[in-house]
Symmetry: C2
Subunit: 186 residues, 2 copies
C-alpha cells in the first residue's frame, strides 16, 4: 500500500532530497494552497535553490503529481475493495481508515481547486464522487433528502479526519459513528 512517507525508487536507492522536497511541498500545498506555493518557497525552506528542484522534478506539475499520487492510488484501491455490497458503516469506516495516512494530502486537494484543474485531478475526483455516491445510495429511499444526508455524513467525516488527533482510533470511531447517525437521521 502506498504511503505519503519515504519510499525507495525503482533502482532501490533512496533519494533523501527527493523525499524532503515532496514532504515540504505537501506541507506548503496543504497550508497555503498549490497556486500560492512557489518553487522558491519550497527551495528556501529546504535551504537549496530553485534550480536544484528542477534536477529532481522536470516541472512543478510533476512534483505535485508525485505528491498526490500515493493518495490517488489508495483511494482507487479503497473503491475497488468496496465494490460489493457493504453497509454504510463499513463504507464510512473503510473510508476513514484509508484516508487517515493522507490527511495532509486530503487537505491540500480539497483546498485548491486550481491544482485539481492543472493536474487533471478534476476527472479523478468526479469519478470518486459518483462511485461513492452509488455505494451509499439507498434504493429504499431515493429522495433528494437522502443525498443531503450522505453529503453531511461524508463532508463531516472528511472534516473530522483533519482534526489533530484523527490518528487515534477512538477519535475515528466517534467520527464514523457520528457520520452514520447523520446518514440514518429521519
Amino acid at each position: 500500500m502506498a504511503e505519503d512517507d519515504p519510499s525507495p525508487r525503482r533502482d532501490g536507492r533512496t533519494t533523501d532530497t527527493r523525499q524532503r522536497i515532496e514532504a515540504t511541498a505537501l506541507r506548503l500545498f496543504a497550508t497555503r494552497g498549490f497556486a500560492a506555493t512557489s518553487l522558491r518557497n519550497i527551495a528556501d525552506e529546504l535551504g537549496i535553490t530553485k534550480a536544484a528542484l528542477y534536477y529532481h522534478f522536470p516541472a512543478k506539475k510533476d512534483l505535485a503529481r508525485s505528491v498526490f499520487q500515493p493518495f490517488i492510488d489508495d483511494v482507487d484501491a479503497l473503491l475497488s475493495r468496496l465494490d460489493g455490497r457493504r453497509s454504510p458503516r463499513e463504507i464510512l469506516s473503510a473510508y476513514a481508515e484509508a484516508l487517515v495516512p493522507h490527511r495532509a494530502t486530503l487537505t491540500a486537494m480539497l483546498r485548491d481547486p486550481a491544482a485539481a484543474v492543472d493536474l487533471d485531478l478534476a476527472e479523478v475526483s468526479a469519478r470518486w464522487l459518483s462511485r461513492v455516491g452509488a455505494l451509499l445510495d439507498d434504493e429504499d429511499d431515493p429522495s433528494p433528502e437522502r443525498r443531503v444526508r450522505t453529503t453531511v455524513a461524508f463532508g463531516g467525516l472528511t472534516r473530522a479526519l483533519m482534526l489533530p488527533d484523527a490518528e487515534e482510533p477512538a477519535t475515528r470511531e466517534a467520527a464514523v459513528a457520528a457520520a452514520v447517525a447523520a446518514l440514518d437521521s429521519r
Copy 2:
C-alpha cells in the same frame, strides 16, 4: 442585513460596474481560489482592462475585502444573536439560515487559506471557531469525542450548504436534522 447582492453606495447612487466587478471576483475566487485569480482574469471576463479595476478598488486586497465583508458581517451578527442559551438544533439551524445567502463566499473562504492570511481573516475565523465551539459545548459531556461530533456536525452541515439546491427549505431542514443526529450520536 448585508447581502452578496447589489447594494447602493453611501451617496445613494448605484455603481453598476463596481457590483459587477465584485460579483465576477467572487465567482472566480470560489471556483479557482483567490491566489489563482488575477485582476486580468476578472477584467477580461468583464470586458474591461486591469487599470479600470484600479479605479474602483485601490488594490486586489481591497476588492477581496469588499467581497468578503458582507459575509463576515452576517456571521458576526449571527454570533451576537446566539449569545444566550440555545439548543444545538437552534444554533445549527440559525447557522444554516444565515449562511445560505453567502454560499459562494463560504466556498471561496474555505478553499483559499492564502486569502485568509493575506486579508487577516485567519484571526476572524479563529474567533468564530472558538465561539461556535463554546456554543455547542455540552457541560454534561466534555469528552474529546464530543468535539469530534461537533466537527462532523458543523463540517457536514457546511458542506451541505454548498449543494446546488441549498436554498430550498427542505434541503436545509434535512441537512440540519442530519447535523443534529451527528451531534447526538453516542
